[in-house]
């Protein structure tokens, strides 16, 4: 696959939130407004790109038995780095609003998922393109969800009043509202894919490799990742 395709697949075809349905916890918690969603998305993108790069470089050196602890340590390092950088240089309001969800990027399944499913099996540039695409795809969804939720709950977008909605739809500002909205978006995506498949005269089935069956994290195998199916 070309580098461009590796980069763009994260936006729609293999979007981490809308297709892979990974990283639900930060998605629901930090998409209550657009600014928070943007900051969280960019922080995750930084961690994704850096961890993918390092894991891709050392993929042939890491013994299969301890690859997951190694990946977690690498990811945790970059999360600590991004946390310190945001604390130092980002607006305090944004840093404090992200709160516990910033250190929790360590356990975001998108980051570990891409390390195990992609970076541990591919070269440097492809891994960087994959990390950047997935990260920006995640950011895109967080900002879109954040815009809708912020508008419905407070009538603003990025803190600017739109002067056309002042009904204070409180549910959307909270996690259940985010869940409902995300469910509606996923249903819409499925409808769109089914409609496309119907037009092409085939039955739509979600590709098996997009769900957790493609990931080898759960397999307690001692084989090297490259040897795994």
């Amino acid at each position: 696959m070309s580098l461009f395709k590796e980069f763009t697949k994260g936006f729609w075809k293999e979007n981490p939130v809308l297709v892979l349905v990974l990283g639900m916890c930060p998605t629901l918690a930090t998409s209550s407004d657009a600014v928070k969603g943007l900051a969280m998305g960019l922080a995750t993108t930084f961690v994704l790109v850096c961890s993918n790069l390092v894991i891709s470089v050392i993929r042939k050196l890491v013994p299969g038995k301890i690859r997951i602890p190694c990946y977690i340590v690498i990811i945790a390092t970059f999360v600590t780095v991004v946390k310190l950088l945001m604390q130092a240089y980002a607006p305090q309001a944004v840093y404090q609003a992200l709160g516990i969800f910033l250190p929790l990027i360590v356990v975001n399944c998108i980051v570990l998922g891409r390390a195990e499913a992609f970076a541990s099996k591919n070269g440097l540039l492809a891994s960087a393109a994959d990390g950047l695409g997935m990260g920006l795809g995640f950011t895109f969804v967080l900002v879109c969800l954040g815009c809708v939720r912020e508008f419905l709950s407070a009538g603003t977008l990025f803190g600017v009043s739109m002067q056309c909605w002042d009904n204070g739809f409180a549910l959307m500002g909270q996690a259940p509202g985010g869940f409902i909205l995300l469910g509606l978006i996923l249903a819409g995506m499925n409808l769109l894919n089914m409609h496309k498949a119907k037009k092409a005269g085939i039955k739509y089935e979600p590709p098996a490799e997009f769900d957790c069956r493609h990931c080898s994290i759960c397999k307690l195998s001692t084989e090297e990742p490259a040897k795994m199916k």
């Binding site: 038995k65 340590v73 390092t77 404090q96 609003a97 409180a170 001692t222």
Partner: protein, 222 residues
Amino acid sequence: MKDMTKASNPFYLAFFLLVVCGVSTLVMAYTAVKTEEPIRISQAKETADSLKMILPAFDNDPASGAIDLTSPDGAPVKLYTALNGGAVVGYAAEASASGFGGKVSGIVSFKPDGTIDTVIVKSGHSETPGIGTKVTDRSVKRTISDVVKGVKPDTSKLPPNAALDSYSGVKPGDSKWTKDKDAVHFVSGATYSSNAVCDLVWYASTAVRDYLASQSESKEAN
């Protein structure tokens, strides 16, 4: 025969993990050292900006002479004293309380006699947008028409907030305001946030009241 190749030798695995952890520690330590000063500056700037907004003009550095107090309820309170020409022009006390989405921190400014002047809630709280934020936010309201017309927001004065402004001019123990039974402004639907603001103002003002009482006692004794 036992497989003792490099990839399965436990000593090699432990050594490899140790190397990875060692390199990670170095990277984190380097970043921590490099960001220590910017983090301190950023935090000091946030406090200094808040104090400038809520206190009358002062010529000292209130943050450097901050005193740690404890309110009668046991809550920690940080007290800043603003001086102008050596005379006290006001106090500011920082306290926090539990809101709907976590801790809500705020700074309350006082006149020299202990009367509440202004209340601001520090940025970064997790109250519900559109509901809890009605109690906590003093953000400058920008509308889409302002953005289109290029109107710049007025940052010369503190934006109003009915809930926070309702504390101005009262003292703890006044007939107007006692904890849990008050005349201050509560926002319907945002009980947790309103309670959090009420609690933090209470902690700050009771701590300042006791501090001023102890100061006047020591003056009399002298």
